[in-house]
């Protein structure tokens, strides 16, 4: 795949559990992300639902991208260069919100993923005198 053997690529900083969407990923993922970008349009979303394989043909997805889409395999889509800002549009078609995506990617149940978010729960509010009576 593009660029992965280059010296610069070998020096990339690794961040655990995190894909840094850089030029290599942007090249690898272009077709998949272009397809997802098209889903801003409702007629395109309907066309995808009506014929997923035909729609993926139109955007020349790679075999790895097609397989990940067929399997609803979010980590596979990311590995094939998908960017979450565009994948979110596909997720919407599939009826998945970002908690569903989080559960799918971390291997947690949806309930456990939501509980993990809530483990950070807090509300801290400060209001200065000038605007105090508004709060």
């Amino acid at each position: 795949m593009s660029g992965q053997a280059s010296p610069a690529a070998q020096e990339k900083r690794a961040i655990p559990g995190t894909i840094v969407f850089d030029g290599d990923a942007a090249q690898d993922g272009y077709a998949l992300n272009a397809m997802c970008y098209s889903f801003n349009s409702e007629p395109n979303r309907k066309a995808f639902v009506a014929d997923e394989e035909g729609y993926m043909d139109r955007f020349n997805l790679t075999e790895a991208q097609r397989q990940a889409v067929r399997n609803r395999d979010v980590l596979g889509m990311l590995a094939a260069g998908g960017n979450v800002y565009y994948l979110a549009k596909l997720a919407g078609i599939l009826g998945l919100n970002v908690q569903d995506l989080g559960a799918l990617q971390t291997g947690m149940t949806l309930e456990d993923f939501k509980a993990a978010l809530l483990s950070h729960a807090m509300t801290e509010t400060h209001v200065a005198d000038r605007l105090g009576e508004a709060a």
Partner: protein, 284 residues
């Protein structure tokens, strides 16, 4: 007198737009977040700014990976939000201010920045949600918009230092504008969150509190981390703090915090709303 009356910093989670569309502001899940806007509403009613200069990132409504500007400045007579893939399109248009946009473009280029200029552009939820939060209801928006998009999508992203310098240049441009308009600056997005990968759901309240406590008195403290440091600390979407860093740079006067609300979680995000006052520096 400063032309910039203050800064509004807020998360822009799409789910907030969904909650607004469904009228869930008083729902127990959402209320602690929406309540954070009461001081902002009071401030806007008192100050009545004429223009909003908004630092934000586009998530794939106006810009795609075919052409991805590091910095882009809108110079359109009007902007619109459209369907981003989940069927919500906010109807109220955003009137533009092309003359001020071009003044800002001229001045930031004179300050050695090289922005893309856009005479036609859509604005996504990163502008639409903060506007709906600040001016709820159905009346026409009382401010004109100058949108400034920062690439937080495709690395390499601009450095925090560069974003802060851009904000300073925009602030100088606004202060040198010959008109009478009062301006409020926005920084949208954040705080810590990560949507993708095995670390999806990452939230870092320590880093968020560091940002919140330093934003007004010592914004340069936020420049000690580079973009990948911030990705590691705040999550791959937490790097949207770059928009806050730029907006804070535009506040060149005496700055003090008027209100701050930090509420975790909203969707997968540690949400925050901060209101800063910017007033003329008094020289001794």
């Amino acid at each position: 007198m400063s032309q910039i009356c203050g800064g509004i910093f807020t998360s822009h989670v799409p789910g907030i737009g969904n909650a607004i569309a469904k009228g869930l502001q008083q729902d127990p899940y959402w209320k602690p977040f929406f309540d954070g806007f009461a001081p902002v509403h009071k401030f806007l009613a008192e100050e009545k700014p004429d223009v909003a200069v908004v630092f934000y990132n586009d998530h794939g409504l106006n810009f795609f990976l075919d052409k991805m500007p590091t910095f882009a400045i809108g110079a359109a007579p009007e902007y619109k939000h459209e369907d981003e893939g989940w069927g919500i399109a906010f109807e109220r248009p955003y009137p533009g201010h092309p003359d001020l946009s071009w003044h800002i473009i001229e001045q930031v280029v004179a300050s050695e920045f090289d922005p893309v200029t856009c005479q036609s552009m859509l604005v996504d939820h990163a502008v639409a949600v903060p506007f709906e939060l600040c001016w709820p209801g159905s009346d026409a928006f009382p401010v004109k918009l100058v949108p400034i998009a920062i690439n937080t999508v495709q690395h390499p992203l601009p450095s925090p230092k560069r974003c802060h310098e851009l904000g300073k240049a925009v602030g100088r441009a606004i202060e040198s504008w010959g008109g009478e308009e009062k301006v409020v600056v926005f920084g949208t997005g954040g705080l810590s969150h990560q949507l993708e990968g095995e670390r999806a759901g990452h939230i870092n309240t320590d880093y968020d509190k560091f940002c919140l406590s330093n934003l007004a008195p010592d914004p340069e403290a936020l420049l000690q981390h580079d973009t990948l440091d911030i990705v590691e600390l705040a999550g791959s979407q937490g790097v949207e703090i770059l928009n806050w860093i730029a907006a804070r740079g535009a506040l060149g006067g005496k700055v003090r915090e008027l209100a701050s609300n930090y509420h975790v979680p909203i969707s997968n995000t540690a949400a925050a709303t901060v209101l800063l006052e910017n007033s003329e520096k008094v020289l001794a």
